[in-house]
Structure formats: C-alpha cells, structure tokens
C-alpha cells in the first residue's frame, strides 16, 4: 500500500511538471497554431535564471535565496518567451514550416549556449531543507517537494482558469483559440494576446524549470528538451488548446509512467506513455477534451 501511495504522489508530482510545461504549449498552439519546439528552452532559461540568481545571493539564508531566485527565474522565463514571440515568431505569422524550423533551431541554440557558458554538467540547485524531508502518508514516506509540485500546478491551473474566465485578455484568448480571424474582425489586435500567451507559457515553463531543479536537485542543459517530449504527448492526449484536457492528460501520463516503471518493468514507463498516445490518436483523435483545434 505504501508503495502504491508513494508511486501515486510521485506520479502526480511528475504530472504537475508536465502540466506546467504543457499548459503553455497548449495555449500557444490553440491560439496561434504554433508548434513551439522552443518551449523546452523556456524551461531551461527559467531554471538557469533561478540557479544563476541563487548563486549570486550567497549572503542570504536558503529560503529567501530560493524564493528570490525562483522569482527571478519566472521573470527571465516570461521576458525570454515574450521576446521570442516578438522577434522570431511574429515575422513568421502564418508561415508554419518556418516557425517549426525557427523554434527547433532556437531550442538547440539555447541548449548549446548554456553548455558553452556553464558546461555540460548538471549544476546543484539549493532548496530549503524541508523540501528534501519526507512526510509519512499511509505508511509511505513522501518527499515534501512532491507536495509543492502538485500544489503549485493546482495553483497555476486555478490562476490560468481565473485569468481565462474573468479577464478581457482571457476572453480574447478563449475566443482566439476558436476563431482567430473573427477576433480580429471585432477590432481586436490579437497579436498582443499572442505575446501575452507566450509570456504566460514562459512563466509556467520557468516554474517547471525551478521545480525540476528542486525535484532533481540540479539544473542541466538537456532537461528542457527531455521534458518537452512528454509535454507534447500530454498536449496531444489532452486535446490541443484545452487547459482542462491538458491537466487531465498530465495526471494520466505522470501516473502511468510511475506505475508502469514499477509494476511492469523499469523503462516501460516511457513506452507505455507512447502506446497511450497511439491509442488516444486512434480512438479519440481530438484528445481527451474532444477538441480538434
């Protein structure tokens, strides 16, 4: 029982990270039709932004250092993502092949740049000691960082939902996911929403970057790319452009990976996720949300 509980909570923690990356991807694709292969770079930039800030705040105790560093990581992630939209994506509006090439290239370039500056090795990321402690639940000793990951993802989901439901920009984004041309035909400059959605995606990915630093205890140049693959799978399973579908798919993928790795065979987790993706595409091509955006 304790193993099952530990696997479940770890799976939910992993799903939380997938959701944080995938939510931005899903919104960006839903609104703009851009398959953003540079989204992993947002995570990397956010994580390294936080790590770099933390490394410069040696005089502070761990908690304020961590909080300031995390905040810096989010700001860096948002600014970087917004700039990517303004400088690289906007000139290529409606040119989808070029967008794919640019975002793939940017993803590779950011990883290479990080390696060139800070090297290939993972860098230790200090977090408050209680995050490394465990809490016992039904006999399972669950690392506390899992709770933080899950709660953060829930907070981001609630905040994004509130933003989409209660603000004018949220209304524009929801409408734009359905019919971008008609939004402009109502006199709305939808390009501002594009930049905003990229920035929001950048923040969420940077949150995932910081949390992955806590989860693994390090930041490394390849993590953005490796997590991005699963985030794409989550987006497709959840239904492109659907936030709730993305959240549900992230939970399913995170849990499936953990259960398959433990109960079947180590390494089968990734394979089972790919099989699930194939099954969903065959049975429900629009994903869990049923959207064919």
């Amino acid at each position: 029982m304790s193993t099952f509980v530990l696997l479940t909570i770890t799976g939910l923690g992993l799903g939380a990270m997938y959701f944080l990356i995938a939510s931005g991807l899903s919104l960006i694709y839903g609104l703009m039709g851009v398959l953003n292969f540079a989204h992993g770079a947002f995570l990397t930039v956010g994580a390294y932004g936080a790590w770099f800030t933390e490394s410069k705040l040696g005089g502070l105790s761990v908690l304020p250092r961590f909080l300031i560093a995390a905040l810096a990581g989010l700001v860096v992630g948002a600014v970087f993502a917004g700039l990517v939209e303004l400088v690289l994506i906007r000139p290529l509006y409606r040119r989808h092949i070029e967008q794919v090439l640019v975002t793939v290239g940017l993803g590779l370039a950011v990883s290479a740049l990080v390696v060139a500056i800070w090297g290939n090795d993972a860098r230790p990321f200090a977090s408050p000691g209680w995050l490394g402690d465990t809490t016992t639940v039904l006999g399972a000793r669950v690392p506390n960082d899992r709770w933080v990951e899950i709660l953060t993802a829930i907070a981001v989901l609630v905040a994004l939902n509130a933003f989409l439901r209660r603000t004018r920009y949220g209304l524009i984004i929801r409408a734009g996911v359905e019919n971008r041309a008609m939004v402009t035909a109502l006199g709305i400059d939808v390009r501002r929403a594009f930049t905003l959605v990229f920035a929001i995606g950048g923040v969420a990915a940077a949150v995932a970057g910081v949390l992955s630093g806590v989860y693994f205890g390090t930041v490394d140049p390849a993590r953005g790319t490796s997590l991005l693959i699963f985030a794409f799978i989550v987006v497709v399973i959840g239904g492109l452009g659907s936030l709730r579908g993305t959240a549900a798919a992230a939970v399913v993928v995170g849990l499936l990976q953990q259960y398959a790795n433990y109960y079947a065979s180590s390494g089968l987790g990734d394979l089972s996720v790919v099989l699930l993706l194939g099954l969903v595409l065959l049975v429900r091509p629009g994903g869990l949300s049923g959207s064919f955006a």
């Binding site: 929801r174 359905e178 402009t184 035909a185 006199g187 400059d189």
Partner: protein, 229 residues
C-alpha cells in the same frame, strides 16, 4: 464623395484569380446589395474589404486609404462585419460574445436588446447551443454594439426559416436607418425590401451598378445576371 470606394481590387486565392479588378462605390446611408451567382466573389469581396484575405488595389473609407491597414484597424475605423457563417464563438456565452465585441466606451446594448430581446434572456447560454437564427442574432448584435460607419453583412438569411428571414429583413431595415450597409444576399425578396443600390458581380468582375429596384424589376436582366427569375 462615397462612403466606401473600391478601385481595381484583386484577390488571388491559391491558383484562382477570384476578384479581377472590381470597382464600385457605396453611398452613405441605406443598403447597397452586392449580388451575383454562387462563387462569383461576393464573400471574398467583403473579406477583402475587411483585410481578411491578401488583396491588391485601393479601398477608401471616407477618402482614407485603408488598403494596407490590418483588419483590427479597419474595424476600429468603423467597419462592422457580420460573416457568412455567423462565426459566433461557440464555447463562449452570448454575454461573452457581446462583451468581446465591445469597442466603444458606450456600447449600444439598448439597441441590441430592443432588436433581439431573446439575447438578454439567453445571456448565460453558450452560443454553440443556440439555433441558427439565434446565432445570427448574436452575429448581428456584435456588429451593432458599436457605432459603425458601415456594416458589411454576408448572407444573413442563409439557412434560416421563412419567419426568421422576415425578422432579419426587419432588423436590416432598422439598421439601415442608423448606418450604411453593404449586404451580400441571395434572397431577392429581402434585397427588394431593404436595398437602395445594387452591385452585381460575375466571375470576379462588376457587371452592373444601379438602383436595386430597377434591376429587380427587369426580369430578363435578373435572369441573365443572377440566374433566377
């Protein structure tokens, strides 16, 4: 001076040269009907005026060149648009559809609710669950919320039951008292009832411009140009 002036307007869609240098004017006030058989470029003309498709030529609104302006700027100059397939946002409520369309500081909800009282009752209903006629009301209401200089209305009676067609014609009459309307419409009964002027397109070219009633009274010409009657 005409309110809207179109000169040498060309649109290519893929390999197809859909609009081949059309020219016409829309005078201020009343309804100008844009007529023609299926596929001659009526909807493309409205989409080109809105900047929703790439176009070449010159479009002037009150003497100002808007050919290069992006769609949202054209709208903000006072061009309202009711698209052919309504294009309401299905996942948004009626209220949200209208709120999204608000441009002016003082949106004309009184007018909208006067014309379409049903929309007030259905404010919280998702637009995707409305009937075709109700969706058409939302589409027209979105355009009427703001004080437009000209409204481009594309086949508002398409697919509607006869009773609703009459209702839409009544609304168009009322709207034409408030602003200028460029109307694409296949139902000649509606055109006869509301339109003052008519522009007829054939295979991407303007082949007739004149008073709507004169055109509709000339049955051989209607048959030749529009394929009906």
């Amino acid at each position: 001076m005409s309110l809207l002036s179109v000169r040498d307007l060309h649109v290519h869609l893929g390999e197809s040269h859909v609009l081949q240098g059309i020219e016409f004017d829309v005078a201020e006030g009343g309804v100008t009907a844009l007529l023609g058989r299926n596929g001659v470029g009526k909807t493309t003309t409205l989409r080109a005026l809105m900047g929703l498709v790439d176009r070449r030529g010159r479009v002037e609104l009150e003497g100002a060149d808007i050919t290069q302006a992006p769609t949202h700027r054209i709208v903000r100059r006072g061009v309202g648009y009711v698209p052919e397939d309504r294009d309401v946002f299905a996942g948004l409520t009626v209220e949200e559809n209208l709120r999204l369309a608000e441009r002016d500081d003082d949106p004309q909800y009184d007018l909208v609710h006067d014309l379409f009282p049903e929309l007030k009752e259905r404010a919280k209903q998702r637009a995707g669950t409305l009937s075709g006629g109700q969706q058409q009301m939302v589409a027209i209401a979105r355009a009427l919320l703001n004080r437009n200089r000209v409204l481009l209305v594309d086949e508002p009676t398409k697919g509607l039951a006869p009773l609703l067609v009459t209702e839409v014609a009544r609304v168009l009459e009322r709207v034409s008292e408030l602003t200028t309307v460029l109307l694409v419409e296949q139902n000649l009964g509606v055109v006869e009832r509301v339109a003052r002027d008519a522009v007829v397109l054939d295979t991407g070219r303007v082949v007739h411009v004149g008073p709507a009633r004169e055109l509709l009274a000339d049955k051989p010409m209607v048959h030749r140009m529009l394929g009906v009657g």
